[in-house]
Each structure stands twice: as C-alpha cells, then as structure tokens.
C-alpha cells in the first residue's frame, strides 16, 4: 500500500513537471529534443503492446506510421480536412491495413515473422514511391503553412506541439495500463511466453494477435500524422523510414519489453544519448548515433535481456530482501 501511494505521488509530480516544462525551457533546441522523446516513447509504447506483451517482434511498424501520415496529409492537402480528423482517419486506415498484413505475417513465427513485417513495410514504401498522381511520388510535398491554426494542427509556439505529443504519450500509456490489467494483457503475455501452450488452455491466439496488432497499428498511425504536421513535409523516404521501425523496437527493448514504462525509459536513455553525441561531435560523423544505439542494444541483449526495467525490479527485489527479516527462533 505504501509503495502504491508513493508511486501515485511520483506520477503526479512527474505529470506536473512535464506540464510545466515548456514554461521553464527557453531553448527551442531542448524543447525539440523533448518532443522527439515524447513522440518516440509513444511509438515505442504502441510497438510494445504487440512486441512486448505478445512478443510478436515486428520491424515493420513504420508501415502504419506512414499510412497515418499519408492519410491525414492527403485529406488535408487535397480535401482541406483538418489533420485532427485526418489523424483518426489515418488510425482507422492503419488498423484496417493491419488485417491483411497480419493475416500474411502471422503465418510465420519468430524471426520470419520479423522479416515478413519488414517486407510489407518496404512494399508500402515502394507503392507510395510509384503512385505519383495519387500521393506526389518520390518528390513528396510540403504541408501548406497556415500560420497559427490550431484547428488545422498548426501552431506558432513549439510548446503546443509538445503538449500534443504529451497527450499522445498519455493516451498510449493509459491504453497500455488498461490492457496490462485486463484479461487481454494476461492472454497476450501467455501467447508471448508460449503460443502453443496458450492455445491449448483456450486462448484464441490468432484473434488476440489480430486485435492487439490493430490497436498497435492505430496508435502508430497517430504518431505519423503528428510527425508530418510537426516537420511540414512528407515523402515516402520520410514517412516510411526503416529507422522508425528500428527505433520503436529499440526503445522498448532497451527500456524493458512488456512493461508499461519500458519504452519511455528506453527513449529517454537513447534520445538523450543521441542528443549529447550530437552536441559533442556535431552531426558531421554519419552513423555514430546508430553505432552507439546498436552497442547499447547488444549490451542489453547480452547482459540484461529484460532491459532497464528488469534491472530496476531486480534492484528493488534485492532491496526488499536486504530489509531485516524476522529472526528465526533459537532452537
């Protein structure tokens, strides 16, 4: 009970701090880093629902990021529909697209599932590269700048984007929290541990995987819309960039897959490292960021596959054991 109220207090303090942060920060550079952290923590959270709890290790989540981005952009540029609506529409498109994609990819398990997800994301990127009449082809397009238009998801103040990203992350965490505590969460963990055994005790594994894939795809698409609105530009190489799939998985694994806060902690660590590297070395040395990421990932896999969260809970368990245990009666 004591631990619970402490956690609630910490959560409230953290929330207040996060809400007040843009007021305290003067530098847009630092604010930009925070927006990236919130955005990737959200994408990681979406990935973690399927990759972490059900252990369906996708490296093709950028497919849904890109579908969300393109849906809202097409609706906005061609039909003048607000990206707020486009965002939800993109989520629905992505959720629907996850059905056939999942139907194909779930035929394979383990590493070959991962490869199939990569292939589907690549096919989608190639499709958007080819269809120039429909979605501007390889050149892409810029988003018309309307100045300060909150209804069109365009803001003059960078802090507004920060609050949108914060809202998305809060949504992702809330959904994860609810799923983790419901029967769905337990089913997913069972599937992740041993799919055949889970089916043997009556878990409808194909349905559970399909449903969680839809939710995960929906959330990832919201991030796509937000990102394009934030950078005012879209092309297939940006919207379907493989590195987004990689980062979604990486932040979750480093932070601890299948845990509520894992993707958040992982993103904070990786993005902070990346920002520090950039300010120390400049962006001159190509490849240094991913070199460091891959070394961190390897270290986590070889020494601590449960990630930072696993490490913390081990520390916590040790701390509990270290408390003076009741002395056994002398015989």
């Amino acid at each position: 009970m004591k631990g619970k109220s402490f956690a609630a207090l910490a959560l409230c303090l953290g929330a207040v701090l996060l809400l007040a942060l843009p007021l305290l920060l003067k530098s847009t550079f630092v604010l930009d880093i925070f927006i990236r952290i919130l955005l990737f923590a959200f994408i990681g959270t979406a990935w973690n629902l399927m990759g972490g709890y059900a252990k369906q290790l996708s490296l093709g989540h950028v497919a849904y990021f890109g579908l969300g981005a393109y849906t809202s952009t097409i609706l906005q540029v061609d039909f003048d529909i607000s990206p707020w609506i486009g965002m939800v529409a993109g989520g629905i498109v992505a959720a629907l697209a996850s059905l056939p994609i999942g139907w194909l990819c779930f035929r394979l398990r383990g590493p070959y599932f991962t490869i199939a997800t990569i292939a589907t994301a690549q096919v989608l990127m190639l499709v958007f590269l080819k269809f120039r009449d429909f979605a501007w082809g390889a050149e892409g397009t810029t988003i018309p700048n309307l100045g300060n238009a909150p209804l069109m998801m365009q803001f003059e103040a960078k802090s507004a984007y920060y609050y949108v990203a914060l809202g998305l992350l809060a949504l992702g965490l809330a959904i994860t929290f609810l799923i983790e505590r419901s029967f769905i969460g337990y089913y997913l963990v069972a599937i992740g541990e041993n799919e055949d055994a889970a089916e043997a005790i009556g878990v409808d594994a194909p349905r559970m995987k399909r449903d969680i894939y839809m939710i995960s795809a929906f959330l990832t698409a919201l991030a796509g819309t937000f990102y394009i609105q934030y950078i005012y530009f879209i092309d297939p190489a940006t919207a379907f960039n493989f590195s987004i799939s990689i980062e979604a998985a990486l932040v979750s694994i480093v932070g601890g897959i299948g845990t509520l806060w894992g993707p958040v902690i992982g993103t904070v660590l990786l993005e902070t490292t990346s920002a520090l590297l950039q300010s120390w070395l400049g962006s001159r040395i190509g490849g240094i960021q991913l070199t460091v990421y891959s070394l961190i990932l390897m270290a986590v896999i070889l020494w601590r596959p449960t990630g930072i969260m696993g490490f913390l809970s081990e520390l916590h368990a040790k701390h509990l054991r270290a408390e003076p245990a009741p002395k056994p009666e002398a015989a």
């Binding site: 394979l108 398990r109 383990g110 590493p111 096919v123 891959s294 390897m298 070889l302």
Partner: protein, 289 residues
C-alpha cells in the same frame, strides 16, 4: 522479343548465383544453429571492402582475393558464434533476433563512419569484357562470379555429404539432442556453420567487386533477397535456397526488363508475400517455423 527474354533470364541467373551464396549461408545457419542471421548481408559488405582494399593497396585481383576474404570471414564467423551467438542460444526469440540485428546495425554504421557512404569500385581487365553468343551478351565478370558461386555451392554440398564434420553438421541440424548424444560437440559444429556461412558471404563480396560498387548499405539488397529465397526454398534447405535464389534473380531481372528499372525489388517482395499466402512452408514443403 525472344532474345530480350533470353537476355533477361541470363542476367537474372548470373546475379542469382551471388544471391545463392548469401542465401545458402543464411539457410545453413538457420538449419544448424536455428538462428536467423540478420547481419549476413553485412558480411558481404565486409568481403567487398576487403577485396577493394586488397585491389587498391596490393593490386590483388578481386576474384583472386577470395583466398584471403574466405578464411578471414571464416574466422570472424567462428568468433561471432563463440563470443556472441552462443550466449543467446536457448533464450527466447527477442535476444536471438535482435542480437544479429544489432550486429547488422553496428557493422553498417561502423562502415559509414570509417569509409563514408561513397561508392567504391574496382576496375579489372574483365570488368568491361563480355562474351557474345548469337545475339546474347554475357558480361565476363558476372560469368566468373556465377561459375565460382556454383563451384563453391557444389563444394559445400560435397563437404556436407562426404566429410565427418559435414555429416555432424547435418545431424545437428536434424536433431540437436540426439546428435549431442552421439558425441557431436554442438558448439564446435555451430562455429563451423557460422564460419562456412560467413566465408560464403565473403566470397560473394569478392566476386561482386569487379562489377558492383561497395557501400555501407550494400548488404541490405542481398540479405533481403536471401531471406525471400530462404523462405521460398523452405527454411534450412540448402538445395531449395540455391534453386530459389536463381529463380529470384530471374524474377527480378524480368521485372526490371518488362515493368521498369526500379521494380525488381517489388517483384521480389511480392514473391515473398505470395509464397506466404499460398505456401508458407516453401516450395520444397516441410514445416515452416
């Protein structure tokens, strides 16, 4: 029309030989060690850079440099099995998938830091030469690459079927526990499997160098082809991987010839998705995992 078709098929078969070297390596590791090596393409890349430096610094012909790249990459494979992969065997999917994935990321980005993203090419006396058979055009460099790729595949086949070590590897692939009971040391067999697979990737790199540029991301093309070929040819099946690789080379080349220059990859991915939809266990049958 018929001539264009024949030419496209020949182009596809020639490059398919290189795909075969990569996918045989992938399928060998998967069959024996039960690991998918996401970094296989990066060892092609390393083989290419090694051949490039041997050619530019010591004037070694890239095809001749095989005799150096293959043993070097064999040793790298043994070290990677012994110090990295061994530690994740028996764990769940996450470490097994992401260890070699991290290795792939690391190698690509190290190459980017060390060699920059520039294309490196080696020009040899046979780089621009070609045989003309009737109306058909057969580039000499690609012909060498294809012929040597087939020789190496045949040599691997002979190794697996006639030597004790080769038989031990096949036994370990069929049933690890029973093989262990028969006195086969699994780690030794796995080290050899990794070594052989990486040596093949290194050979592919050397053979590519006379007609293909080296750059940090070059491996991705080949590893994607290999993954598709390995699924198509049934996981763990070496002959299946070989035949599927040649088919993929032809399919890609036909796509480029008749649909458009950058459609090769679409054709290949569609083949993968079609295979998954219609026959997930691959053309040779057996169980997909």
């Amino acid at each position: 029309m018929l001539e264009t078709l024949a030419q496209a098929v020949i182009n596809g078969l020639l490059i398919g030989g290189i795909y075969a070297l990569v996918s045989i390596g992938v399928t060998l590791i998967f069959g024996v060690v039960k690991i998918v090596n996401f970094a296989q393409g990066e060892f092609v890349m390393i083989g290419m850079y090694l051949s490039f430096f041997l050619a530019t610094q010591f004037a070694v012909d890239p095809v001749v440099s095989l005799v150096i790249t293959m043993p070097v990459l064999f040793s790298v494979g043994v070290l990677i099995q012994h110090f990295l992969i061994r530690r994740v065997l028996g764990q769940n999917d996450m470490p097994q998938i992401f260890l070699t994935f991290a290795l792939s990321l690391l190698l690509v980005n190290l190459a980017l830091m060390l060699f920059s993203a520039n294309y490196r090419t080696v020009h040899t006396w046979y780089s621009d030469e070609a045989l003309h058979l009737g109306g058909l055009y057969i580039p000499l460099a690609k012909l060498f690459a294809f012929a040597l790729a087939m020789v190496l595949s045949a040599a691997l086949w002979a190794f697996l079927h006639t030597t004790d070590l080769g038989k031990a590897m096949r036994a370990a692939a069929q049933n690890r526990e029973v093989a262990q009971l028969m006195g086969i040391n699994p780690n030794r067999v796995f080290c050899v499997a990794l070594g052989v697979a990486l040596a093949l990737a290194g050979a592919a790199g050397s053979l590519l160098m006379p007609f293909y540029p080296a750059y940090p991301l070059v491996g991705q093309v080949f590893v994607l082809m290999a993954f598709v070929a390995v699924v198509l040819g049934t996981l763990g099946n070496i002959l299946g991987a070989l035949v599927a690789s040649l088919m993929m080379g032809v399919a890609e080349s036909l796509g480029i010839q008749f649909i458009g220059a950058d459609s090769g990859l679409i054709v290949v991915f569609l083949m993968l998705l079609l295979t998954l939809a219609l026959r997930p266990s691959g053309l040779a049958g057996g169980r997909a995992r």
